[in-house]
Symmetry: C2
Subunit: 345 residues, 2 copies
């Protein structure tokens, strides 16, 4: 079947609509003619379903690939992902961010696309705000949003993005009557009172026992308990403590906002150092349970590097936890959460 390349479109007349669109759901029909995107054209050329002519001359795959990659940004990435999805039995439509994907067994005209695929190179950065924007768009349209990341060796990794509501933990802190005395030692505090040390640790899993009498608290734990008036530090009010903590740890304020939000909603929140994230989080805490989430706090102007994202999701996956990024959400006054999960398509 003969097709004509003009600018960024391939057009075909005659049988094209019935052969390629009606049967294969390639391209889109306009004024009775079929228009193919260059990615679709390259695939049909490879499959020997079409011939492509430019200025009256037939172009081979190599020439077409070179032309197309000059005209379309990330053309080769689009081709890799399109080919992969097609060959695994999915129908797709082109979209501004990549593709709309139809459920297995479904196709245009029969079913609605159920997934928005966001195509991106491992070399790109993905700003958090862009992520939020695309998530809103997808969720408003009741679609799933999936990142398709093409690495430098043309392998594709798929991640699903979801907004997450972190609520319903079962360890909501109550009020207590008298604050316990704590002392600041370097970058941690020590609760000296044995009874209070034990209560904080065994009931809410705050801190780590220094020995059977004393409890060590991290900076965020200390700040949180200070704000709730569960502890007091001699000669140091909350504001002075916050300044002190931010001097020791420049990320303190950011980490604290996620920490306090999660504690307030009844989660037990511990360091995620062993996993290379800020926190591991328990929704229902028992001493014999594992944490369900890894939470990493990022600033609202954060731009993810994709290897960084890959590392975080990979670790969470390998320890059967869910990877959550928390960010200051000024609209709602608290913290927003996005879950990112590795999936097989």
């Amino acid at each position: 079947m003969k097709c004509e390349l003009r600018d960024n479109t391939i057009t075909a007349e005659g049988d094209a609509v019935s052969e390629l669109y009606d049967r294969g759901f390639y391209g889109r029909v306009k004024d009775g003619r079929l228009e193919l995107a260059l990615v679709e054209g390259a695939y049909l050329l490879y499959r020997k379903k079409i011939e492509i002519f430019s200025n009256g001359e037939s172009v081979d795959f190599k020439t077409f690939f070179e032309i197309a990659s000059k005209r379309i940004t990330d053309f080769e990435l689009g081709y890799i992902v399109f080919k992969d999805m097609r060959e695994r039995g999915y129908y797709t439509k082109m979209s501004p961010i990549g593709f709309r994907l139809y459920p297995r067994g479904g196709h245009p005209g029969k079913t609605a696309a159920h997934i928005f695929v966001y195509l991106i190179s491992e070399r790109s950065r993905l700003p958090l705000q862009r992520m939020i924007q695309e998530l809103n768009r997808a969720e408003n349209a009741r679609k799933r949003l999936i990142l398709a990341i093409v690495d430098e060796e043309s392998d594709i990794t798929f991640y699903e993005l979801k907004t997450s509501v972190m609520a319903g933990g079962d360890s909501k802190p109550d009020e207590i009557e008298t604050p316990a005395e704590a002392g600041l030692i370097g970058d941690r505090t020590i609760v000296w009172d044995p009874e209070m040390a034990d209560f904080l640790h065994s009931t809410y899993f705050f801190g780590k026992k220094l020995d059977e009498f004393r409890l060590q608290l991290s900076l965020v734990e200390s700040g949180y308990l200070l704000a709730r008036k569960w502890i007091e530090i001699e000669g140091m009010g909350l504001e002075a403590f916050d300044r002190y903590a931010a001097e020791i740890d420049p990320g303190y304020v950011l980490k604290y906002s996620a920490y306090s939000d999660l504690r307030d909603s009844g989660h037990v929140v511990k360091t995620g150092f062993k996993f290379g994230t800020h926190f591991r989080v328990y929704k229902k805490f028992r001493t014999d349970t594992h944490s369900e989430y890894l939470v990493h706090a990022v600033s609202s102007d954060h731009a993810f590097s994709l290897p960084e994202l890959s590392r975080a999701v990979r670790i969470a996956n390998s320890v059967h936890k869910r990877m959550i990024f928390g960010y200051p959400n000024c609209d709602r006054g608290r913290v927003g959460y996005i879950e990112i999960a590795w999936i097989r398509l």
Copy 2:
């Protein structure tokens, strides 16, 4: 037993040498008296083995801990690690970087210390050069070097450091007669010749098949094959390619040095994107084998953040691979490697 705190030392007379040194291997003997480090003193005070007097007055644990943490940098970290090791049955001696550790069942006077423990807070940065220096020191003394990282919640993570020789891979590239033609498409190249595409992929696992006829190569693969004259790119010499690659990927030169060194020694080297590292590396490559190493290239002035180190080691561990950092080693003209492995003490 009464002890006296003066400056950064605790001294004890009388029975101290026979009770604490001969039986428990605490401190060191000087002029017939026992000198304890503050960390040892705090531990013996907690165990109620000694009383500590300062200016004639007895000091309790809390007071002593506060005094000591003001006098000794990272005193509380030292205490946490010392207590942990003692209570798990290890004898230690203080050292400039932390502790010397005796094998289980061994002790000073009977056996030599076999491990140098490098004590560090998760908030610190660990410069590569410092790591190399301590590794040399330990290896010259035929000791193992172990990092003891204390996280913000006072948990301790132990990593063993080793210099690593990456040699003996079984896929050493031969010479070939005629370079294959490759085309540059964005940030990868395509080998258009079907035979050569197949040879490169199936014999050496270069690149990824675009389809049954064509092979895609990453930037480092392209640069390597270009340097070996296995491929040629129309209108672009090696130098121009290197400039082009470094413009697309600012880390290209660094990654390339590790990549080419590993390929030259017969390893098969593929992207480690899915693991968040630069490379995964096969020593003996068969299509059904898994890679044995994850290799990440760092510059010679790199300073590791410890969460970064923790992430890398954790991932490698979870997929049963060995985590290796490669760095430009100007002394020896090639690339140096350090293996970092999570261990239980």
